[in-house]
Every structure is written in C-alpha cells, then in structure tokens.
Amino acid sequence: MRMVVRDEMSGWREILYFMFRNRKFLIGLTIILIFVGLALIGPYIVKYRPLEYSGPMGSPPSKEHWLGTTTFGQDVFSQLVYGLRSSFAVGIVGGGLATFIGLAIGFIAGYRGGLFDEIAMMFTNIMMVIPTLALLIIIAAYLPYRGIFIESVIIGLTAWPWTARAVRAQTLSLKTREFVNLARISGMKSVRIVVEEIMPNMMSYVFMVFILQFGGAILAAVGLDFIGLGPTKGISIGLMMQNAVLWNAIQLRMWWWAVPPGAVITLIVGALYFMNTGMDEVFNPKLREM
C-alpha cells in the first residue's frame, strides 16, 4: 500500500523540527546537557580538590560539603564532578572508537561481501561471544600504569562487534535499494557510492549507534573501575563506588558517598536511551503513531 504523500523527511530542517518537538528526545537531551554543564564548569565551582583531605572524616552533606565527605575527609561533590569528567571522556573516546571500528568493518563487509565479509563476520562473532569484561580483565590487569585514555581505547577495541553487525545489516539492505543500483548502473565508483548514496541514509542510524556506544562505554568504565581495573591515578565514578564499598560506607550509613555516584550514572545512561528512542521515532515515522 503506497502512501500518496511523498515522504519529505529527507530535508534536514524537517528532521530537526520533529526532533525538537519529540518529548523523549528533549527530556533526555536536557538531562545530558545538565550533567555536561556540570562536568565542564564543575572544576571552577568546587571549593576543594577531589583527593584533598579537606574536611571532617565521614561527615554528611552540609553547607561546606554539599555531598558530605568520605571516610578520609575528601569532598564527595568534587569527586563526583571530576569523576563525571572522566566518565564523559571515556564515553567519547571509547564510544567513538567503538563506533568507528564497527562502522568501518560493518560497511566494508556489507558492501563488498565475499571473502572479506566471511572473515570479518567470523571475527566479529568470536569477539562478540567473548565478554568484553573478560578481555578487559586480562589486558588491564597486566598494564602497570593505566590512564583514562588507555581504558577508553581498550573499551573501544572490545565494544564494536554489535555495531559492526548492525551496520552490516543496514548496508546490505541499502545496497539493494533502487537508488544504489541506479548509481552503480550509471557508472559511479564504489567509494563514491558508499559516501554519497549509502552514508547519508545511514547518518541518522550512525548517530543513534554512537549514542548507545557512548552510554555503553560509560557503563563499562564504571564496572571496570569498580572491580579495580580502572585508571591507577585520578578519580572516577566507579572508583568512588569501589572505595565506598571497600570502606563499608553502606554499613556505616554514609549513603552520600555510595548512592549519588551511581544515581548520576543511571540518570545519564537512562537519558541517553531516552534520546535514542526519541530519535528513532523521528527517523522512523511509523513509530510516531504509537
């Protein structure tokens, strides 16, 4: 059954119009922006350095220390702000890397097919089965000094398989569409076809994939840091929670140390999922009618 109205969603302006009217997208975006803002201006508004022994040990939230202090008298709020920065950094670098690798492998495998496709898919399947955590354990455990950058790279190198699979599927379906065949018949070179015909149609998809990878990387870093495989220096959200648990913050009723960091992560990742669903509704008009 064909709609008589020609779908004019190809215009970017239309897309942006609907996107900024989509409730889910807006709510998600707002939450993210709040935290990004906090991460950016945070260092300028906190009074103490995160690892500095700046206050009474284990004290609850007060005017001086908005989220109280740790067992050692460190300001929880500044730890949170700096931890947020490292979380976002890992999200961007790790998530970006994973998206990039997934895109590259997925595109080429999907478009070219043949032997490359077979090998790439076998490799992807193997990497997919091995839990990211397991690989991260082995790699991170043997690196004596670990920084945020290395952590992001490791996460990026292990989180790409599902993206590659998904991108490949999309490429395959686009490959057989009329406009691509048209381009091929009219003699366009493969690279040009990929860049000019296939990619623009996937732009929206790629963006959504990145959002998910971004969230995934943040969660992975929290888990890694919590187990003890995170950066050896500095502070991160996962590290905060690890310390809190190791030093019995829960039993000692220091909820301000253990609970807020995780709450922040939940809000951020949840907001990302929301944004993603909102975008999906915008790009796939059918879902909007729900």
Binding site: M1, R2, M3, V4, V5, R6, E289
Partner: protein
Amino acid sequence: MIEVLKIEDLKIYYQTLKGEVKAVDGISFELKKGEILGIAGESGCGKSTFGNSLVLLKPPMKYVGGKVKLENEEVPVWDFEKMKEYRYKKISIIPQYAMDAMNPIKKIGKMIKDIMEDRNIEYEKIENRLKERLHLVNLPLNVLNMYPIELSGGMKQRVVMVIATLLNPSVLIADEITSALDVSTQKAVAKMLVKFKDEGYVKSVIFITHDVSILYQIADSMVIMYAGKIVERGKTEEIINNPIHPYTKLLISSLPEVGVKHSEKPLEGIPGQPPALLDPPKGCRFKDRCPVSMKICEEEPPYIQIKENRWVACWQEVKKHA
C-alpha cells in the same frame, strides 16, 4: 447479469500529520457477476488504497463518504468490527505483499488450520477443497507441510491465491499480484485467476495493476484512475483500441508494441508527476500534464456516461456530447 458490487462516490482519505490526503476522492462503478474488472493507473493514483479499503480500513485510512453495496446490501466499511463478517468470507484480497503474507515460522498447513479454526470453519469440511485448489495451481500437496521460506516467490504467490479464495468470496481483489513476477509467470498467474473465476470459485474479480497490458489479457472491463479519481471506464477492448481521455491515450501509447522498433516509433512516457493529494489542484487533476488542456479544465469535469458501458471525465467529451 447481477451486480455483485456497486461503488457509489466512495471517498477514502489518509489522516496525516500535515492534513488529509485525498487518496480516493469520489469513485463510482459496478462489478457484475463473472466479471474481471481491471483498475489501472500510476503509482499513487489511489487504486491500492481503494482495494485495501474494502477489506482493511483502519488508521491512517479513514472513511469519508460514499457507499459500498455488495449484492445490494450496504457494506459498513467504516465499522472495523462489523466488517469481520465480510472479510475473507465475502470480500477477499490477494495483497501486494503476497510473498510476505504468511507467518514465517509456521507450517503453511498449520497456519491454514489455525485460520479456519479462528473463523469458525471446520477444517475437515474444507480440506478436500483446499487440496483440489492446490492441484489446480500446480502445487504439490506437501506444500502444506512446508515453511514459507522453502517456497519460491511464485509458489508463495500461488499459495496465497489459494488461501484467499478458499471460502469462495463474492469479490476477490488482486492487488498488483503480477508486479513482482517475470513475464511468463505473470501470464501463468493471470490465467489461474481467470480459471478461478470461470470455475465459480470467486464471483467477480477486481484486478489492480499499473500494467495495462496484463489487463488486456484477462480483464473484461477497465477503470482508469488518476490522482484519486476515475477518468475513464468501459470495456477493456474498447478502451485499448479507442482510448478517449487524454491520460488513457498517453497510457496506452506508452505501451511498447510487439514488432515495432524504437527507431520507428519511439516510446513516449508521460512527462511530469501526478499532483500531491494533500491539497489537490482545483479542477481537472490531469490538466497540468494534459496535452490538450483548455481554460475550462480549471473546473472539475463531470464524470459522464457517453454510451452504454462507457464513462469519461473530460471536458472534451462534454463538449462533444453537449
């Protein structure tokens, strides 16, 4: 000859975010018993919308006006629940997506049994008929034991044909059933359809397609639709050999003739695009592409009967028969 189906000024619009798309904007015709009526037109002219509206009228489609009469009884197409009694039993459809119309993880026979049971029909009573029909379309009986993935496109189409006609409906709607097939399979499928009609399995057929040449083979009469309206209607042979409406003329002449070389008589397409139906232009909807449009075409031409079994909606004809 009894009238099986009568359509009176039927209007079906689509409700979209931008407004109402007037996909089917007042069409009228009759369908007689034993008749195969072809509906032809470009993509987007409303023919598929019309076909589907008779069986499955649900949002974003909405009923705006007009009457549908089946064997002189009015059919409540706007009432989704009441239509259940008509669906499949009286009006049935072979959909455009026939190759996709079966549940991929159910054996075909099991699916048919489930459908029969759901519609309160005893499977045992219909089993023989099912097997006969399968035989008629040259499908082996063990097809019932297979999954859709095991069949070729043509086979799936034939299975759906058998399923759609299993309850001997009064009206069978065939929605672009040949569009995805190669030419020889097209012919075979079209012939099967005619056979079904001849054997009385279906009382009448509405054959929707953009391919006029197929209609020439099997349709008794034809309706040409453009931009939601009927522009011409009549016996197939008369329309093909003597098209009257300018659109029909262009449609027929854009068909390649066997034996004629391109150098001798180049194929003419019809330049331009049909109008968007969100806000259709006033007057004749074809006027912007029409080679003989006049000033009066700014006003909508009446749909008039110019002789027995021949209707046209064109000012040229109005002038002639004034």
